[in-house]
């Protein structure tokens, strides 16, 4: 067991009636780092977070946060964590300031201390002007910042963020990202869940990809991208053509995915000089008219696609996964 791990989980399982939410998850987060737990809706991200924040009990497995067992020492764990979760909201009828003071007092701060801390946090999260407005009047971005502030009231060493930017407009999202980066500069350990690949890519030191309650890949964003290999080739045809797949097969390592209308084809390639030229020439030789050829370097979206056989939001349908990657990444 590693002594510098702030969050550690072994074999967490959790069933809700007959639904398997978690099927044995291991997590490890070094002190002072950010782990992003990435997965589509229903993958088990929130369940894992609920267990680590003492809101749910695991069926089996164990986990420690800041060195304390989340089941046996739940009360102590709660003193060391801040939580910002979508289903753990603040009070609509209180002002921003009253909310923060209340959270502070319920965390064991004296009233004067809680008030001082609230002023500090409202200032830091640019909410000072709205401090004495009732929460009902806050915008989505303001609420999220106040949620973050509430999670930080006690200066916890570990912060959990459940989908911190889901539902925010792009500007508010960038704002929240900036806030999160600053937090880690303060030495916080952070675990965040997200269904946005770019969010994990932008914020996290390490990424754990989970699907159907299991960790299917783990590593830094770079490692995940490297593991998936080269670039992706995407070709858009003027119209669907039977010969296209055959013409592309000598470039593509693995199988070619074809869109429903047969006009868009994609697959992994090893990028090299003149690749696009060769692709166009090969298609031309086969009598296929080409509208567009793109070679792009892998994104985390591609990683997800390769690992699960479906896109990050599950809309791409069942294509061929790359099972050999799973072993490589674990």
């Amino acid at each position: 067991m590693n002594d510098t791990l702030m969050i550690e989980a072994h074999g967490l399982t959790k069933n809700y009636r007959s639904v398997k939410a978690l099927s044995g998850i291991d997590l490890a987060v070094e002190a002072g780092s950010i782990l992003a737990v990435l997965g589509p809706n229903g993958a088990g991200k929130t369940t894992a977070l609920r267990i680590l924040t003492t809101l749910a009990l695991p069926d089996s497995g164990r986990a420690t946060v800041a060195g304390f067992d989340v089941v046996k020492e739940a009360a102590t764990v709660r003193r060391h964590i801040g939580v910002t979760a979508q289903d753990a909201t603040l009070d609509e009828l209180l002002t921003g300031r009253q909310n923060l003071v209340m959270v502070g007092e319920l965390s064991g701060l004296r009233r004067s201390q809680a008030k001082a801390r609230a002023v500090e946090l409202l200032e830091r999260f640019e909410l000072a002007d709205a401090a004495d407005r009732v929460l009902k009047t806050y915008s989505g971005g303001m609420r999220r910042r106040l949620d973050l502030a509430a999670g930080l009231t006690t200066r916890p060493p570990v912060l959990f963020l459940d989908e911190p930017t889901t539902g925010l407009d792009p500007a508010s999202r960038l704002n929240v990202w900036a806030v999160i980066r600053n937090l880690v500069a303060d030495g916080l350990t952070l675990l965040l869940t997200t269904q946005y690949l770019d969010e994990a890519d932008n914020l996290a030191d390490r990424i754990v990809v989970i699907d159907h309650g299991l960790v299917i890949a783990e590593g830094s964003a770079q490692e995940l991208k490297t593991a998936i290999g080269g670039a992706t080739l995407e070709v858009t045809l003027t119209e669907a053509h039977e010969g296209a797949v055959a013409a592309l097969s000598r470039f593509i390592e693995g199988s070619v995915h074809t869109s429903h209308d047969g006009r868009r084809l994609r697959g992994p390639v090893r990028s090299g000089s003149g690749l696009a030229t060769m692709v166009v020439r090969a298609l031309d030789d086969a009598g296929v008219l080409v509208d567009d050829v793109e070679v792009h370097q892998p994104s985390l979206d591609d990683v997800f696609f390769a690992l699960t056989g479906h896109g990050s939001n599950g809309t791409e349908g069942a294509a061929t996964p790359a099972p050999e990657l799973e072993g490589a990444l674990r």
């Binding site: 003193r79 753990a88 609509e92 007092e105 965390s107």
Partner: protein, 281 residues
């Protein structure tokens, strides 16, 4: 390197245990609920508008057709109206809790190092304070329509105290309903279905002597009847049930205290249990 040797700043909180920190949490949450009432004063209509309206309606409409031996209907009815209003407004506890549970405010509380049952105690304390408002409103409306207490000041205060104790105990039962309900609306409708018959099938508004014998048996053993009789007894108001031989009607104060204690002993621990179960997935 170990966790202890890293320069992790200690959190601002201290270890929390003991009665003092529990009471502190209760005070914080009671205050929160009072702020809610100040922000949405309509929440108080159950204990302000309704008592006045009920008093006027029942005394002038029902009172014109009901003869009470040994006094006016108004003198008989105020204790009963007190019970009717307190019983139906106990629903506020279940609506309030169901609302909190539906918004996720309680999930937030559950992540804090606080005494989790403080959510329930704070809720019932705030509701007790609004019950006191209710008592004052009924008493004032009563004075206007001709009701007068005819016992010593201490006895009168004891009478109101017995009613408030029962209302507090009942709010724990309603807390259970609120926790198991699906949302604020169902919390309210369940409350109505249970509480309204409880208040009406009793001696609160009419003497039970005129009821069919089976209904009368139910009414005489209804906790609300015991409390209404106890309040009438302590206020020195006419209490026709005193001539009924069933035990609770002969010993209304003891019965009222007993019913309240029983409700508390059953429903307070049950509410805490249901609350923990509902908020720990």
């Amino acid at each position: 390197m170990t966790l202890a040797s890293l320069t992790i700043p200690a959190p601002l909180t201290r270890p929390r245990s003991g009665l003092a920190s529990r009471l502190h949490d209760v005070v914080v949450l009671t205050r929160r609920n009072l702020v809610h009432i100040m922000r949405e004063p309509m929440q108080l209509s159950d204990v302000t508008v309704q008592p006045v309206l009920f008093t006027l309606l029942f005394v002038y409409v029902l009172g014109s057709g009901v003869a009470i031996a040994g006094g006016s209907y108004a003198k008989f009815a105020i204790a009963g109206l007190l019970l009717l209003n307190l019983t139906t407004s106990a629903m506020g506890t279940s609506v309030g809790l169901a609302t909190d549970l539906s918004t996720g405010a309680i999930t937030r509380f559950r992540t804090l190092p606080m005494w989790s049952a403080a959510v329930l105690v704070g809720r019932t304390f705030a509701d007790l304070l609004s019950a006191i408002v209710c008592v004052v409103m009924v008493a004032l409306a009563g004075l206007v329509v001709g009701w007068r207490p005819e016992a010593g000041a201490l006895s009168v205060l004891a009478g109101f105290g017995v009613a408030l104790l029962f209302s507090y105990a009942l709010s724990w039962a309603c807390a259970c309903l609120g926790i198991v309900s699906k949302g604020p609306e169902s919390g309210a409708s369940v409350g109505l279905v249970v509480l309204f018959p409880l208040a009406i099938v009793s001696n609160a508004l009419v003497p039970t002597q005129g009821m069919p014998s089976w209904l009368r048996l139910v009414a005489d053993w209804n906790p609300v009847s015991s409390v209404a009789s106890a309040v009438r007894h302590l206020l020195g108001n006419p209490n026709p049930s005193a001539s009924i031989h069933d035990w609770p009607m002969q010993h209304p104060v003891v019965a009222a205290l007993g019913w309240s204690a029983l409700l508390l002993v059953i429903f307070a621990p049950l509410a805490v249990h249901l609350f923990r179960r509902r908020t720990t997935g």
